[in-house]
Symmetry: C2
Subunit: 354 residues, 2 copies
Amino acid sequence: MSRFWSDTVRNILPYVPGEQPQDKKYIKLNTNENPYPPSPKVIEAIRKEIGSDLRLYPDPEASLLKEALAGFYRVKPGEVFVGNGSDEILAFCFPAFFNPGDVITFPDITYSFYPVYAELFGIRYETTALNSDFTVDLGSFPEHADGILLANPNAPTGIAVGLNEIEVLLQRNSNKLVIVDEAYVDFGAESAVPLVKDYDNLLIVQTFSKSRALAGLRIGFAIGNRDLIEALDRVKNSFNSYTLDRVAIRAATEAVNDKEYFAEITGRIIKTREETAKRLVSLGFNVLPSRTNFLFVSHDRLSGMELYSMLKNDGILVRHFNRKGIENYLRITIGTEEEMEALVERLSCYVKSV
Amino acid sequence: MSRFWSDTVRNILPYVPGEQPQDKKYIKLNTNENPYPPSPKVIEAIRKEIGSDLRLYPDPEASLLKEALAGFYRVKPGEVFVGNGSDEILAFCFPAFFNPGDVITFPDITYSFYPVYAELFGIRYETTALNSDFTVDLGSFPEHADGILLANPNAPTGIAVGLNEIEVLLQRNSNKLVIVDEAYVDFGAESAVPLVKDYDNLLIVQTFSKSRALAGLRIGFAIGNRDLIEALDRVKNSFNSYTLDRVAIRAATEAVNDKEYFAEITGRIIKTREETAKRLVSLGFNVLPSRTNFLFVSHDRLSGMELYSMLKNDGILVRHFNRKGIENYLRITIGTEEEMEALVERLSCYVKSV
């Protein structure tokens, strides 16, 4: 610690991303990356971007990407915001839409970055309990809250709520901003994008890191009515004029345009997920119903920590959250069929040995 | 405006980056980009990075780049922070080192993003006047301030202070954090990096967007003692785990390692700057002594706005700040010899016609 640290820095507990050990080659099922490479058209487009123009600043508006996203989601370019991963966009939401003293609310078991943002920007937060089956109780958010932050599907449970339920939530909370974090929505859940035209209290945040296989380039986007997007633009332009680099803008644009490849790889991941879930159930695992590219599972006879450690020892990385209520669960990213085969084979051995 | 806007968003006046008009092809001397392409070794290294691994998150620590920078600047990797452009790092400094109510101070004529950061993060700021010759009065910073933010060389004046003066500033303000923004230092000014080992109140911020010809990839870095770097890490890890993408990390690392190319292009820009300055003086321009990749100039018979407009009309973009005290000046980026030839030729015509 230094005498120059602010109170914020002294008190904050930063988010810890999934481990990336370098000691050996692992089957990496711990950070919800896509097991398939980006579209060949993305790679091709990047190759064309690599040259002398890297000396020039990117387009601060990233108009090319906004237009592609607007086309894909059937909204207007002015209803789209882009940023350096959905993490950056979620961070911007705090100073954009909340004042010190305001309260934002989210489930107690959800993406664990949310309370960190609140601490960083000095916004209060209140959490609500999940139902006993790990579903979100959409009626539980406190009336006095100024905003709701909902991951749909939720992480790390993988459970989604339907579009009708989101619409009811928006209607019941018309005086509150509702931010829906759809990081995993492309793996079989329903996006709330079609509701944007009718609800000015809805902001949707998505990422290119999961379904579009571009975690390495850091791209996220938000969709909402123009006024909400303008607020994010004002924060971004008061923070960093150019958050997306030339390569990322070009790559993301091509990723949006290659709809067939996107459908193919998300379809494959969903298929592998369903097959893996069935096999884990047959091994006695409790498997929550997932609409994401991961499974959240537990076993009565083996603790989450034991399973995590045995798998790591055998060269398979999964994510374990040492947190009350979910300490016996593992979050397992859906990899290739071969990777899941290796996982199931290992888990099968552990289960048979106890 | 929306009922969901925070007070911050309602009141803030975002930074406006240099224009990028698309109506025709301009000689672009308005955003201080490097006229030369990145090192061929950088391009080659990026080509190798473009592939399947883009599906994976980057190293959140960007260790490869930190080690390269530590080697180049003869500091330890733990004394280096990296970010999405120096703008992002400067932004992080506000919540990292200042509490609401604290006062940060900087000259009234300097990088116009500084007051915007202060507004965004709710930190007070006080500015001090430059001397009449546009040099910074290092004795003018108020005693009650909690921190000093100094661009050296200063922008948009281009004028640098020497290492001895920085050391005296650090000694006289040993109770204050002194952030030195060295965005333009590689064009002939003295970096304060050698002082880091002796002064725990010194943080240096630099960028790859100017001397290293990588504005398109968004990379900046800071050097300071470990505690200051840890504060920045804590803010970054509470904001966005991965601010630098895989391509940027690889490209920046190679740019640092290719010392010869770096020396060659910065040397050429300095030479072109000196030649251009001489020619402008001979045309009757007042040219401030620059240690940057731009010149800050005025002419007694033509206003800054007139010169800016005539140049734009003739296909040459320069930057004009419509701001009291510098409204008659133009900031002209040093381009290639051919580009400066075209500029001087145009300015020569304007001067002869009045």
